[in-house]
Amino acid sequence: MAAGKSPTEAVNYRQYLDPKVLAKIGALDIRARLIMEGFISGMHRSPYKGFSIEFAQHRPYTSGDDIKFIDWKVFGRTDRHYIKQYEEETNLQVMLVVDASASMAYSGRSDPPWRKYDHAISIAASLAYAALQQRDSAGLAVYDSRIRRIIRPSNNSRQWRIMIEELSATVGEQKTDIGMVLDQIAEEIKHRSLVILISDLFDDADRLIKGVRHLRYRRHDLICLQVLDHDELDFPFNQTTMFKGLEEASELVVEPQALREAYLKEITEHNNRIRDACHQLRVDCIQIDTSVPLDVSLPNFLASRATRMS
């Protein structure tokens, strides 16, 4: 876990890429649901036909068409001019948006401590690596109450290292404000991109949905990866406990089991509301339990997404 270390310390880049995890991610294609605009050929279909190397269809020549696209073989056989159209594969621009707010510092009861943030940056690193391996562009935005650092998408060979260094160096201590951050991201990214939001989504649902809607309005594809500790999903405490808010200056002494059901109802309602909104906006919203190993959760997510794309 590099999180919490000073930026000057050496960074073990591989620690976020468990070989098992990356082996499985490498075997899967990341497919955007929308055709992204790109400059390099790859596995991603371009929305612009006519300039790609993969044949798509013929259409009759019309005035103004470049004659270099005339299929002369067809002309030889039919004595008619047809234009040969190709479907061009584009590169994918992936923007990883990672929540570094104070709530992500929750580490649950694992030994050694494994924060939600640790889990989030592992996912971000994995996905960035996979994207860069297939020559897609990857960018990074780290935020809490505001965007603390943004790395514009690139497929440069050093891009992944830069992203990893940034993820390792960033320690959020403030309250999250996802809605505002998504608004800023939507304004910052000029090209249509696949935005992957990695957060616990502990924020006001209305503002969050508003940000998501803004991103979709800009025609960005969005995937929400909600990273939650198992404690937050199960609330397994049974002794009288004083809960001290990580983001809020509040304390509450309760006998947890008395409130367990009500708490689970509250958090489930919150998650359901976000998930339903995402569904309406054609946004994938996936809940990731930090207690589940990455080599299980990520491949499952990517496999299900690939199935949907196909």
């Binding site: 002794q239 809960f243 983001e247 002494v253 008395a258 708490y263 509250e266 919150h270």
Partner: protein
């Protein structure tokens, strides 16, 4: 006492256990309070959801917390009640929750006649104790038992019903026969009251009387048929048995008596005259009872003064189931004034305790009488004082006078110490002032005798203005009778006890003059209620009225004690009549010191705060100062505990202080009442009388737990609540208690 805690207040077999258990309900409260202080801290990310959940449920949580706290307390309370074995308040509840409890109230005759040892060797008491002990051992720990001692004033042995246990058996085994008399009707009434109280709590109540069924059980002093004696306690016994039935209890009598019991007892021993004087013969009245099936000839009674034989009297034939009273003269046995003891003794039989009887008395040199004369006369003029005739009668010019009269005038009375006198005579004097009245009142209350004569010097009606209850009658205005037809003494209607010898003498032709008494003037007496009219004039007009006041007596005459109003002093019968009157109104010697078993000895303190006495069998008794509240005025007395052993109690120097005897007159008739007759006396069917029982019945089928199944049900319910609460706490967290303290958001 097995269980001194009032079961009526806390209806449990073990009230103290319940009290301790009930105190445990503080445990959840303490845990609750401790939990508010002891908690661990946890940084938490999803605080917004926790706070929202809390805010929406804070009321429910508080209510749940309260209910759960109450539930836990209730569970502990039920556990405590179950362990302490709750007693159902009503029979219906007992029946609903189990088959309830059965209460057996044993009325156990522990009076001294039960100690009679027959030829077979086992007294009725020992037999009853053996049977009760065996019965108690046979019970399987389920039944409830209360034991009421039937001896007079002995009180309940087990006041509140308790479940049968080895302690009950131990208590029964440790009982001993008392020296008190029997008081059956009150004991049965007490059982009826207890049965009535417990009727709703127990599924059934039964009352067992374990007794010897003697005639004296029913207050019959002679013979074996209580129904033939109107003075017997049969109606009271029947009423008590009816009350037992009315309380819904069954009644049964276990007759452990001896049908062939034979007992000879001294039932009465008293002095014929109130005072015992040195150098004088002692006149004793003695009553013997022959409680057996055959006549007893030549019963010898030996008398002892201070342990030294003082004479012997042989009674003739005393018929079966009859008593015989005789006057005995013991010639000149006392030579020193002071306290002495007299004991009469007959041959020992199966019930030795009533074979002797003792009296303690104080021997005086003479009976001192103070005569306060309002008309002292003038000897030089040959005018006699008003009390001259009385003085001459009390102290004739012969040796060996019993009385020692002293005459003073009214003005001298305040200077005289009245304690030195046995009687004060006020003749033709004004009523005393307030101070004098207080002294006279105190004198009479302590046992002195006050005798009042009217006269011509004062208006008798002035006496009527005295307040208080000292005087037994009120004087009316003086009445003059016609000289030719004076008032006369109504000999026949006057008290026969006083007149009987004179009437008998007249019958023998001896002139006593009682029929020639003429009363020219008199002050009519109007007796108060309860006053005795000893002598009456013609027409029923009282001539001598006597009333009790405190321990003494007050006598009021309707005429003078000289010849001014009447010729009575001049009659031959005057002297013996005065003697008889004085013997009747003087307080007997040692009256306070001759007690029955169960009474307390009370003496005037003489400077000492306590007085140790040595009784029979070296039993030590300590008299202590005690404030006695009476309707007159509180005063200090040396008071003993109840005297439980018959015998003479002496000081360390050997001076007899008190004699305690059994109440033989009411209890020594051991004539056995047949079962059928006993059934009639109790007012029950004959099958309710179990004669010569081999064992006492114990209905094992109904001998269940002390509180039926109620205790177990409560125990189970308490455990069930705790278990349910624990399980539900694990399965459903909403049933758990929550505690909250204020945080920044709360």
């Amino acid at each position: 006492m097995l269980e001194s805690f009032p079961v009526a207040v806390l209806p449990f077999v073990s009230p103290w256990l319940f009290a301790a258990g009930a105190a445990s309900i503080s445990i959840p409260v303490i845990i609750h309070l401790l939990n508010r202080r002891r908690f661990k801290q946890k940084p938490w990310a999803a605080m917004q959801f926790l706070i929202a959940a809390y805010r929406r449920n804070v009321r429910r949580l508080k209510l749940q917390r309260l209910l759960l706290l109450l539930l836990r307390c209730l569970a502990l309370l039920l556990l405590a009640a179950g362990i302490a074995q709750f007693i159902p308040f009503s029979r219906g509840l007992a029946a609903l929750m189990g088959n309830g409890s059965r209460l057996t109230i044993v009325v156990w005759n522990n009076a001294y006649p039960m100690g009679y040892v027959p030829a077979s060797g086992e007294s009725p008491f020992r037999r009853s104790r053996r049977l009760l002990k065996s019965w108690s051992e046979q019970l399987n720990g389920g039944q409830w038992v209360a034991i009421i001692g039937a001896a007079q004033g002995s009180g309940p042995l087990l006041e509140k019903p308790v479940p049968t246990s080895p302690s009950v058996t131990h208590l029964i085994a440790g009982q001993k026969v008392t020296q008190r008399g029997l008081s059956m009707a009150p004991a049965l009434a007490k059982a009826a009251s207890l049965a009535s109280t417990w009727r709703k709590r127990a599924s059934s109540v039964r009352v067992w009387l374990v007794s010897d069924d003697t005639a004296s059980d029913f207050g019959c002093r002679t013979g074996y048929d209580p129904l033939a004696h109107p003075s017997a306690d049969v109606p009271a016994v029947r009423r008590a048995v009816q009350a037992i039935k009315h309380a819904g209890a069954t009644f049964r009598v276990f007759d452990v008596g001896c049908p062939d019991a034979a007992n000879m007892a001294i039932t009465h021993l008293q002095f014929s005259r109130p005072a015992v004087l040195t150098g004088h013969d002692i006149h004793v009245r003695l009553t013997l009872l022959n409680s057996s099936r055959q006549a007893e000839p030549n019963v010898s009674v030996h008398f002892f003064i201070d342990g030294v034989s003082a004479g012997q009297q042989t009674f003739g034939v005393i018929r079966s189931d009859e008593s015989m009273t005789s006057n005995v003269l013991l010639p000149n046995p006392i030579h020193m004034a002071g306290w002495h003891q007299l004991t009469a003794r007959i041959a020992i039989d199966g019930l030795p305790i009533d074979n002797d009887r003792s009296l303690v008395f104080k021997a005086e040199r003479a009976i001192k009488v103070l005569m306060v004369d309002g008309r002292p006369g003038d000897p030089s003029q040959g005018v006699l004082a008003s009390t001259a005739w009385l003085e001459a009668a009390l102290a004739p010019a012969v040796q060996g006078n019993r009385f020692n009269p002293q005459r003073i005038e009214m003005t001298e009375l305040p200077e005289v110490n009245l304690r030195h006198y046995a009687a004060v005579v006020l003749s033709d004097v004004d009523p005393p002032n307030a101070s004098g009245l207080r002294r006279l009142t105190a004198f009479v209350r302590r046992g002195g005798t006050l005798m009042i004569y009217p006269g011509g010097e004062v208006n008798p009606s002035a006496w009527s203005q005295l307040g208080g209850n000292l005087l037994p009658a009120r004087f009316g205005p003086r009445v003059h009778t016609p000289p030719r037809r004076p008032q006369t003494l109504d000999v026949v209607r006057s008290a026969r006890a006083i007149m009987a010898p004179f009437i008998a003498a007249q019958g023998q032709g001896i002139h006593t003059g009682i029929y020639h008494i003429a009363i020219g003037q008199y002050a009519p007496l109007f007796p108060r209620p309860h006053a005795d009219v000893l002598l009456t004039m013609r027409g029923g007009i009282p001539l001598l009225v006597v009333g009790n006041f405190g321990m003494g007596k007050v006598a009021m005459w309707g005429t003078t004690c000289d010849t001014q109003w009447t010729n009575l002093p001049a009659q031959p019968s005057f002297l013996p009549l005065i003697y008889r009157v004085f013997d009747g109104v003087l307080t007997p010697s040692g009256q306070q010191r001759n007690l029955l078993v169960g009474q307390r000895l009370m003496l005037r303190p003489h400077g000492q705060a306590s007085l140790p006495l040595l009784g029979p069998h070296e039993r030590q008794v300590l008299l202590k100062e005690q404030l006695v509240k009476t309707r007159h005025a509180p005063h200090i007395q040396l008071t003993s505990p109840t005297m439980e052993l018959a015998g003479v109690y002496k000081t360390a120097s050997g001076t007899p202080i008190a004699a305690v005897n059994v109440d033989a007159a009411g209890n020594s008739n051991l004539a056995h009442v047949p079962a059928a007759l006993a059934a009639s006396c109790f007012g029950v069917p004959p099958d309710r009388i179990i004669s010569e029982p081999v064992q006492l019945q114990a209905n094992r089928k109904t001998a269940t737990g002390p509180a039926g199944n109620v205790g177990w049900l409560m125990l189970l319910l308490g455990l069930l609540i705790l278990a349910t609460e624990a399980l539900s706490a694990r399965a459903f967290s909403r049933y758990r208690l929550s505690t909250q303290t204020a945080g920044a958001h709360a």
